[in-house]
C-alpha cells in the first residue's frame, strides 16, 4: 500500500511512564529557582555546559538559559519573551534559545530592575526568573553562547560579575587525532580543567566561603552513576521493537543535564527498570514498529509530543539521535569521583558538536549501525547553526556509507514560526516510501 495515501490511524507514541517523573522534577526545580531570592540564595545564570554540579555543591541556585527557553517553549509560553526581545532589537534570525532567554532578562530588568515601573503579571513566566548575582559562560563549539552571556551581562548593566571558560573546538587534523584521543584532546582537556579550577576561585569569591570539594565529589559520583544507568537504558533500545524513543530521551535531558542531582539517579533507575520490562514484554515505543530512524539535530521544543505521535502514526520508531546519544555526561568513565574536574572538562568538550565533522560523522554512523536504522530524519533548525553546520555532510555519509535515505525538515529550537509541518509530512513520507521500495527490491 502506498503509505503516502494510507489514512492516518489514531496511533500514539507509547511514551515511557517513568518520564512523567521528569515532568515533576522539572516543575519542582523551576519552583525552587523562582523562590531562590526569597530564600536568600545566590543565583548564577549560565548556558551550555553542565557546570551546575559546581554551583549546586556551593549552594548556589543555577539557571540554565537553554533549559528555561525550552521549558517556556514546551509549555507554549515562549511568545512574550520573544516579543520583548524583538522589541529591544534582537532580530528574528538570532538563536531562539538566546532570544527567548534575553527576552526574559530584558523583561526582568524592566519589571524588577533599574527600569522598574510596570507591574509584573504573576502568570507570565517571562519575568519570573530571579536576576543573576553572577554569570558563568562555558559554552562548547557555538560562538553564540559566549556572546549571549556577554549580552546578558550588558542587559543587567554590567553590574553582574561574569566568568568566561573558553572551550576549544576539537579540529582533529593531527595523525593521532580521534574521539577521546590524541595530543589535541589531552591539551584541550588540561586547558579547560585549569579554567574550571579558576572558575571555582570565582565561585569562592562570590560566596565568601571555601569551596566544598567533598560535596562536588559526592554529586559527581551520583551523576556518574545516573549517566551509566541512562546509557544502559539507551543501549537496550537496540532491541526490536525499540522499548523507548529519541523523544523519551529528549524528555530525560533535563534530569541528566540541569536538575538537582539528588533524585536524578533514582529517576534513571526507574527509567532503566521500565525499559528492561518493556524488552522482556516485547513492548515497543510505537504500537507497530515498521521503520527505525535516527534523528539528527536539536529538538524542536514546541513539538516534542507532537512529533512523537506523528512518527508513531507512521509506525516509525525514532531510536537514537545526535542530540540525545552524543551528549550530557556522555562519557561517565572519564569522571573520577575523587578528582572529577578533568573528567568534567572532557565531558564538556564532547558536546554533540564540538568535534570537527570527520570525527562527528564517524560517531553518528556508528550509532546508526548499532541501532540498525532504516533512515535518518534531519531537523534543520533555523537559528541553531551549531547543529545544522555538518548536516549536509552527515546526510551524504548516511547515503554513501550506510546506503540509507535521509529526509530534512525545517524547524527551530524554540521559535515555532519556523516549523513547516507539510514539509515534514511530505518528506518523511517520501523517505518511508523509499525504504519500502528498497525492502521490496531486497525481497
Amino acid at each position: 500500500m502506498n503509505i503516502a495515501f494510507r489514512p492516518f490511524e489514531e496511533k500514539k507514541a507509547n511514551k515511557l511512564d517513568s518520564t512523567r517523573i521528569a515532568g515533576k522534577l522539572v516543575n519542582d526545580y523551576w519552583e525552587m529557582v523562582w523562590r531562590a531570592k526569597d530564600e536568600g540564595k545566590l543565583v548564577c545564570w549560565y548556558e551550555g555546559s553542565a557546570i551546575n554540579p559546581f554551583l549546586e555543591a556551593a549552594d548556589i541556585c543555577w539557571v540554565h538559559g537553554e533549559a528555561y527557553s525550552a521549558m517556556l517553549a514546551a509549555r507554549h509560553q515562549e511568545g512574550t519573551a520573544q516579543r520583548v526581545a524583538e522589541e529591544r532589537g534582537y532580530l528574528r534570525e538570532l538563536c531562539s534559545y538566546a532570544r527567548t532567554h534575553l527576552g526574559c532578562a530584558v523583561s526582568n530588568q524592566r519589571l524588577r530592575g533599574d527600569n522598574a515601573g510596570a507591574a509584573p503579571d504573576e502568570d507570565d513566566l517571562t519575568w519570573k526568573l530571579p536576576a543573576p548575582d553572577m554569570i558563568i559562560s562555558a559554552y562548547a563549539y557555538c560562538s553564540t553562547g559566549q556572546q549571549w552571556d556577554e549580552m546578558t551581562s550588558r542587559v543587567f548593566g554590567k553590574k553582574v560579575p561574569i566568568f568566561n571558560v573558553s572551550i576549544p573546538w576539537i579540529w582533529g587534523a593531527k595523525p593521532d587525532a580521534g574521539y577521546l584521543r590524541g595530543e589535541e584532546w589531552e591539551e584541550t582537556s588540561d586547558y579547560v580543567a585549569r579554567q574550571l579550577r579558576d572558575m571555582v576561585k570565582f565561585i569562592e569569591e562570590r560566596t565568601g566561603k571555601p569551596y566544598p570539594w567533598d560535596r562536588l565529589y559526592a554529586l559527581m559520583a551520583d551523576i556518574r552513576r545516573a549517566s551509566e544507568l541512562r546509557l544502559e537504558a539507551m543501549e537496550l533500545c537496540t532491541a526490536q521493537p525499540a522499548p523507548a524513543s529519541f523523544f523519551d530521551w529528549v524528555v530525560s535531558i533535563a534530569p541528566i543535564n540541569n536538575l538537582p542531582v539528588p533524585g536524578v539517579k533514582q529517576y534513571f533507575e526507574t527509567v532503566l527498570e521500565e525499559v528492561k520490562q518493556r524488552v522482556r514484554d516485547g513492548e515497543g515505543t510505537v504500537p507497530d514498529e515498521k521503520y527505525r530512524l535516527f534523528f539528527d539535530g536539536i529538538m524542536n521544543w514546541n513539538k516534542v509530543g507532537w512529533l512523537a505521535n506523528k512518527f508513531a502514526r507512521w509506525d516509525a520508531a525514532v531510536v537514537a539521535g545526535r542530540y540525545t546519544h552524543m551528549a550530557f555526561w556522555q562519557e561517565p568513565g572519564l569522571i573520577d569521583p575523587n578528582d572529577p574536574v578533568r573528567g568534567m572538562a572532557q565531558n564538556y568538550l564532547i558536546c554533540p558538536n564540538n568535534h570537527a565533522a570527520p570525527i562527528l560523522i564517524e560517531l553518528i554512523m556508528g550509532l546508526c549501525r548499532k541501532f540498525k536504522v532504516d533512515g535518518m530524519v534531519i531537523h534543520a533548525s533555523r537559528t541553531c547553526r551549531a547543529f545544522t553546520n555538518p548536516q549536509f555532510m552527515i546526510a551524504e555519509a548516511a547515503h554513501k556509507r550506510l546506503g540509507i535515505p535521509t529526509s530534512m525538515f525545517e524547524g527551530d529550537v524554540t521559535d515555532e514560526s519556523f516549523y513547516k509541518d507539510e514539509l515534514l509530512n511530505s518528506r518523511v513520507e517520501a523517505m518511508l516510501e523509499a525504504i519500502e521500495a528498497r525492502r521490496m527490491v531486497a525481497a
Binding site: 534582537y90 559562560s137 560562538s143 549580552m151 573546538w169 534543520a380 547553526r385 555538518p390
Partner: protein, 379 residues
C-alpha cells in the same frame, strides 16, 4: 587606484598572477584576526579570502541558505574549484558559521592543507594574552611545517614593520577623509583596504605612497550635505553599489569601522621585543581600539566607541550595515541602538545580503534617513 580596484575585484586572479610571477606559495585566510605578518615572513603571499560577487550555486548543497553570505560564498568557491590557486587555507576564529564553512571546505578540498588555530575570543581574562601567544606559536609552527623552513624572528620583525607602514599610510587616508582633505569616496576607500588584504604588501605600500602624494596635491573633496559614519559589516565587504547608493543620497562618509575599512588597519603590532608576544598584544589591542562584537570584553563598549568616533568625525549620524544572519552583530545591535537613541544620534539599520538587494527600496530608506538627519540638525 585602478590597480587597487583590480585586485579588490578579482583577488584570486591577482594571487594567480603573483604566483606565476614569483613561483611562491599563496595562503588564503579567513577573516578577521589572521596575522598576515607571519605568513609574509614565511615567504608566502597571505591573502584574506573574499566573498565572491557570483551567486551561490553548488554551495547550496553544503550550507543552508540561512547562513551569512560570506560563509556560503567561501564554501561555494571551494566546491566550484575556485581556490585552486591556494596552497593552504587558515582560519582561527570560532564564529559558529565559519566553523561550519571550515569543515565543509576541508571535506571538499582534501588536497589543500586547511589549518585551524583557535584564537581565544574572551578578551579580558588573565590568560588571554598567554593563550593568544600559544595560538600564534602553534600557527607559526604549522606554517614552518608547511613551508619546510623556519620563520626567523628577524624576518618576522621586518614583516611587522612593513605591515605597520602599510596600515599607517591607510590611516593617513582616513585622517584626510575625516578633515575633507581626501577626495576619496567609500568605494575607493574599500578598494584601498580590500586590495591591502590581497596584494603583496610591499607592492601595495608602494602604490599607496603614490596615491597619498596624489591625494595630498588634489583639491579638497566636494562637501555633500550630510556627514555619516558607516558601521558594521565584519567578514565581508559591503557591495560597492550599496556604498554608491548611500553617497548618491547626499551623504559624505567621514568615517567607518567596517572590517573592509578602518577596523582592518586600526592597530599596529609592536615592533620591538618577541614578535609572537607582539602579535598577541596586537590581537588584544585591536579590540580595545575598535571593539568587535565577535569578541567578548566586558570592560570595552562598542557602542561607546561608535559615539566617540562620531563626535571625532563630526558625523551627524550613522548607517549600520549588517550582513544578514551575522549572529555577533545581531547580538550587539540592540546595545548600539539603545545607546544611540539615548544620545539622540540618528542611525539607520540596513541588512545586506549576498544575493541582489532591492536597491531602490533601500535608497528610499536612506533618502528618508538623510532628511531626518537634516531636520534634526535644523531643529
Amino acid at each position: 587606484m585602478q590597480r587597487f580596484a583590480a585586485a579588490a575585484h578579482d583577488p584570486l586572479g591577482y594571487a594567480k598572477a603573483w604566483k606565476e610571477r614569483t613561483g611562491r606559495k599563496v595562503i588564503g585566510s579567513f577573516p578577521m584576526n589572521f596575522p598576515g605578518e607571519l605568513a609574509h615572513a614565511a615567504d608566502t603571499l597571505p591573502m584574506i579570502l573574499q566573498e565572491s560577487e557570483d551567486p551561490i550555486t553548488l554551495g547550496h548543497g553544503l550550507l543552508f541558505p540561512f547562513y551569512c553570505g560570506y560563509t556560503r560564498s567561501m564554501v561555494d568557491q571551494a566546491v566550484r574549484g575556485d581556490f585552486g590557486v591556494l596552497d593552504a587555507i587558515m582560519f582561527g576564529d570560532h564564529c559558529v558559521q565559519l566553523l561550519g564553512a571550515a569543515d565543509a571546505i576541508r571535506m571538499q578540498l582534501p588536497d589543500t592543507r586547511v589549518i585551524f588555530f583557535q584564537l581565544i575570543s574572551s578578551m579580558c581574562d588573565p590568560w588571554t594574552q598567554g593563550r593568544s601567544e600559544e595560538s600564534f606559536s602553534k600557527l607559526k609552527a604549522e606554517l614552518e611545517d608547511f613551508t619546510g623552513a623556519p620563520v626567523a624572528d628577524a624576518a618576522l620583525h621586518a614583516s611587522i614593520r612593513l605591515f605597520n607602514r602599510n596600515r599607517g599610510l591607510i590611516r593617513r587616508l582616513y585622517q584626510m577623509r575625516k578633515t575633507g582633505a581626501a577626495p576619496l569616496g567609500s568605494v575607493e576607500m574599500q578598494h584601498v583596504v580590500k586590495s591591502s588584504m590581497v596584494m603583496d604588501k610591499a607592492e601595495h605600500t608602494q602604490l599607496l605612497e603614490a596615491l597619498i602624494e596624489q591625494v595630498e596635491n588634489a583639491p579638497a573633496a566636494a562637501a555633500r550635505t550630510v556627514r555619516l559614519h558607516l558601521s558594521g559589516h565584519f567578514c565581508q565587504a559591503p557591495k560597492p553599489e550599496v556604498l554608491t547608493m548611500i553617497e548618491e543620497c547626499g551623504v559624505t562618509v567621514v568615517g567607518d569601522d567596517l572590517y573592509h575599512g578602518f577596523r582592518y588597519i586600526s592597530t599596529d603590532v609592536p615592533e620591538e621585543g618577541d614578535p609572537i608576544q607582539g602579535l598577541a598584544r596586537w590581537y588584544l589591542d585591536r579590540n580595545t581600539g575598535v571593539p568587535c562584537p565577535t569578541r567578548v570584553q566586558n570592560n570595552v563598549d562598542w557602542d561607546a566607541y561608535l559615539l566617540n568616533a562620531i563626535r571625532e568625525e563630526r558625523a551627524q549620524g550613522m548607517i549600520v550595515l549588517m550582513a544578514k544572519f551575522c549572529e555577533p552583530h545581531m547580538y550587539y545591535y540592540p546595545e548600539v541602538k539603545e545607546a544611540f537613541e539615548k544620545a539622540g544620534v540618528p542611525h539607520l539599520l540596513i541588512e545586506t545580503e549576498h544575493e541582489s538587494m532591492a536597491l531602490e527600496s533601500l535608497k528610499t530608506r536612506v533618502e528618508t534617513f538623510v532628511e531626518v538627519v537634516k531636520h534634526r540638525q535644523a531643529a
